[in-house]
Point group: C2
Chain length 358, copies 2
Amino acid sequence: MPADGIAPPRRTPPTIRDVALAAGVTVGTASKALNGRGQLRPQTRERVRAAADRLEFRPNDLVRSLQRGRTFTVGLLTNDSFGRFTMPLLAGIEDALGAAEILVFLSNLRDDPEREAIVVASLLAKQVDGLIVMGRRSDPRPPLAVGRSHLPIVYANSRVTDPAALSLLPDDAQGGRLATVQLLRAGRRRLAHVTGPAHWESVRHRHDGMAAALAALGLDLPEHRLFRGAWTEAWGHDAVNRLLDADPTVDALFCGSDLIARGALDALRERGRRVPDDVAVVGFDNWEILAAAARPPLTTVDMNLHDLGREAARCLLAMVAGERIAGVRRLPCSLVVRASCGAVAADAAVSPRDAPPA
Amino acid sequence: MPADGIAPPRRTPPTIRDVALAAGVTVGTASKALNGRGQLRPQTRERVRAAADRLEFRPNDLVRSLQRGRTFTVGLLTNDSFGRFTMPLLAGIEDALGAAEILVFLSNLRDDPEREAIVVASLLAKQVDGLIVMGRRSDPRPPLAVGRSHLPIVYANSRVTDPAALSLLPDDAQGGRLATVQLLRAGRRRLAHVTGPAHWESVRHRHDGMAAALAALGLDLPEHRLFRGAWTEAWGHDAVNRLLDADPTVDALFCGSDLIARGALDALRERGRRVPDDVAVVGFDNWEILAAAARPPLTTVDMNLHDLGREAARCLLAMVAGERIAGVRRLPCSLVVRASCGAVAADAAVSPRDAPPA
């Protein structure tokens, strides 16, 4: 047995051979001891473990991966340069995968199909156990080209044209209903909607949800109070100015994004409208750094991307284990209530604003 | 040789054995043919490559990694939940590593030391070739605990207390000088500074840069025009109101972040000050979604995080190749000119604003 004491400085990490040498056993015995396999005397097992600790031996996942046919790695593909959607989704994915000691390769494809092909080939060569694909949501995307590989893939916050694939999406229609019901419960009846480009699926669904909530009370959203444009503050500002010119009686505004809502709030303030007293406002995204800092702080729909990431990772793990999951699943949004839509009692009925307080 | 034609459906990816079988050669010959090694007849090499193409054979990086002692993977550790700093840095890292077919594991440590330890152990087990560590910049961070491993580590946008380590940082002092010189060249002389918390290193450096640029013209920044507070819009708004109460003669404002600048612009507008005519404003970050949408659009310092990421990856590759690099390196910031600080001729001298145009 080697003398105990200070190990010499080394430039390479210790191997199982070093551990075996230090413990005075064969490599086979050291391997059995560390993996908890085989018939060994408890003292031997303990001696090997102590040597491994002393040497700071770390098992090589590559070897284990080859043995087990899995690498415990997952690829996450995004096109989101701001990280606004990627970071919360990643947090949920890491929460679900962390317990399984799975790490995430992240790559930003930058909407470049050539780059996508190169990155996917590289991920396949690294034998990832599965992929999570995020995407822009203007249109359903074609399935990722992985050749004949049967790699499990989950599309998260992205819809895919392949009906045999799994897409997880926020329930935009339900989010639109939530926002609208909140405004109705605050007593508002003359609602307007300022939102993003008409060809985005999420724009259609959020509008559908709003229309359904209004219809339940026999109300509708007239064309002159519906403004579809860009996902920008400038559009929110511009649209509200047009809206107030066209219909000064509007008493509530549902904005398709928090950026739009920020522009809308600025325009309302400049036109002397008090929020929420004159016009109540609800946004969409709960982009906290913008929503909480709005004046007044913005009530907004949260897509719960963290939960969506967690569910995407759970589904991926199930698929890696052999389960087949397909179709489009929509996960519920929630409402984060701040000052911009006025206080509403938790159990307030949807009633006219002019009703006297109980 | 097997019959040509349609391959049967398979559930597992093809191996080098399948390629050898399809080409009618031994596994050793197939391996030589695909790796371009050994003495082979060109026809044989061609036949193996054709079989590999037909079967969509992808080489297994795990095997190659074990052979070469490198995995062509890198870990990126962050604490940035918004992705504001992570995504541009990642883009630069991917640009530098992409050509080398290296993929990036991203993990958000969420300022949790326990989580950091678990993630680092997992990255070490996966035999990453190196790590890039991002961090909050309030204080230098302790070196990452990697035990006796001699893994190359680069600290990016994060300073480390270990003088033998490499830290890459934006040159905040130079950025502060850039912003100030721009305001001086626009003819302003009564400058104010609204910035973040005093204990942040970047706050001190940006202020130092501003003071140096002022001193070069024999000017200084009086205490009553210096406001240190929070990295928020609300602070920018509040500080400008206090500033205008204390000194209505101020004609320029350098803000320590774009969020602060957004709050400042709102307050200036509400107080009836025209930007840039009455008060010129420069921010810091070039957080484009906020800076470009500001009213007026915000001139701001860009930390060039994309370049910083590229340099971090280049240094890491050099360290993986055996080079030793240590110390603190500061990379230059640049100025993105928009409307908020007024037009300045490209070659304008720093001259009093009252000087008549040439």
